[in-house]
Symmetry: C2
Subunit: 221 residues, 2 copies
DNA sequence: AGGTTAACGGCACTGCGTGCCATCTCACAA
DNA sequence: TTGTGAGATGGCACGCAGTGCCGTTAACCT
């Protein structure tokens, strides 16, 4: 074979497969494109395709694992005294960069995902994972707040929904480079809609302060 | 054949297929169960299975179309002057009955859906449809409110998330009959977390009143 | 009784996803 | 330089999902 164990070779094959899949799906349709077509267009065997992607649907939007990792990193490295709404906003905004850079690719993927039912469902499953990650991290940090699990679920869903809505609006408005800043600004308006610190009693505040102090102590040890 | 065009016969076959699928999935596993097994256990041919369900995953939880129809009906029949938060709550609560009645079935489905990845993704796609329906209905009713689309997206996601969180909590707490009332009560707490009427200026209020008057006039004609 | 309609079952076909194995290339060591 | 092990590949074959097609059968209608 022409490639050994080179990591650059793997990334190159992966990119070729993604572009071939997106082009073929856009050109002749999703159902009319077989995995053999994608592999042949990328110059590899059919068996190799399934070594890079778990299924035909995964050839589009292969960056979701990176987005999930970034969110988890923001939560893991956040200072214990930083307000939750700030952490949540920062975590969600790290995902924007995955879309706002390759504008052409983002537009093609968006059109594909929202035309093909199989890709729509796949995207929904991915959004579900984002929501679950947010909810889990928030739930752990709202353990001693009344209805913490409910607030975590609502906040996670709200943040993910606002993120997708801002992205959708940006794409519908032409996906310009200067629109990217306004996209993030628009998304940040969600911070006023989150049920995080609004109706807390005095004892809740003291509990949260004590918890923050414990976290701070644990972190500095 | 033993069944003609009888509607009762169709519903009976459908129930047999669902119970056979759930039992087989629970017993020998999802991947280890073929559609042939389900059809044979229900006493019908393999081809007939695909006349009742679009795929193997749809044999579990076949009531989602009914839930979507109920939500759409609540929105369609709501009085134009009813507050949006009230309509949203009522719409979501109509879906609870789909789960709170058959407790045993709900428990089995829950365990299955959250164990099998394919069924999890299918459920996520269904939740996505619920969220889209809520968001669409809300977006049309928040057209003349600042950031109406964002509020609609956040509210739809929050309501669906709270619904699922309440249902999950109820199932985790044993899924008792008396717990059903508390499940709905718990869900209703989401009404205080929705960005619907909170920060509205005077001109927004007058706009909404004018819109309600227009809707009322259109409805009475 | 004869015709119509709708559901069913069987058959064959395409394509996805996977296990298995032989082959090739690169890296590293003797 | 040559051998060796590990990673990557491609081909082959298999099971199964989903679909189109068609003959058959049972219920309904006139």
């Amino acid at each position: 074979m022409r490639r050994g164990r080179s990591a650059e070779g793997r990334a190159e094959v992966r990119r070729d497969l993604v572009t071939a899949a997106v082009d073929l799906f856009t050109d002749k349709g999703y159902d009319e494109t077989t995995v053999d077509d994608i592999a042949a267009a990328a110059g590899v065997g059919r068996r190799t395709f399934f070594r890079y992607f778990a299924g035909k649907e995964d050839a589009v939007s292969p960056d979701h694992d990176l987005g999930l990792a970034r969110i988890a990193a923001v939560f893991a490295e956040a200072h214990p005294t930083e307000p939750l709404s700030s952490v949540v906003l920062r975590a969600a905004e790290t995902v924007f960069d995955l879309y706002l850079t390759d504008v052409q690719t983002a537009r093609k993927r968006f059109a594909l995902v929202h035309r093909v039912p199989a890709l729509r469902d796949r995207e929904a499953a991915m959004v579900h994972r984002y929501r679950r990650l947010f909810t889990r991290e928030l739930s752990a940090r709202l353990a001693d707040v009344p209805d913490g699990d409910l607030r975590a679920a609502v906040t996670g869903a709200a943040v993910v929904a606002a993120h997708n809505q801002a992205l959708r609006r940006w794409l519908a408005d032409g996906a310009t480079a200067e629109g990217a800043r306004e996209c993030v600004t628009h998304f940040r308006k969600v911070s006023g809609m989150l049920p995080l610190d609004a109706p807390l009693g005095l004892e809740d505040v003291t509990r949260r302060l004590e918890r923050a102090a414990r976290n701070l102590e644990r972190l500095s040890s």
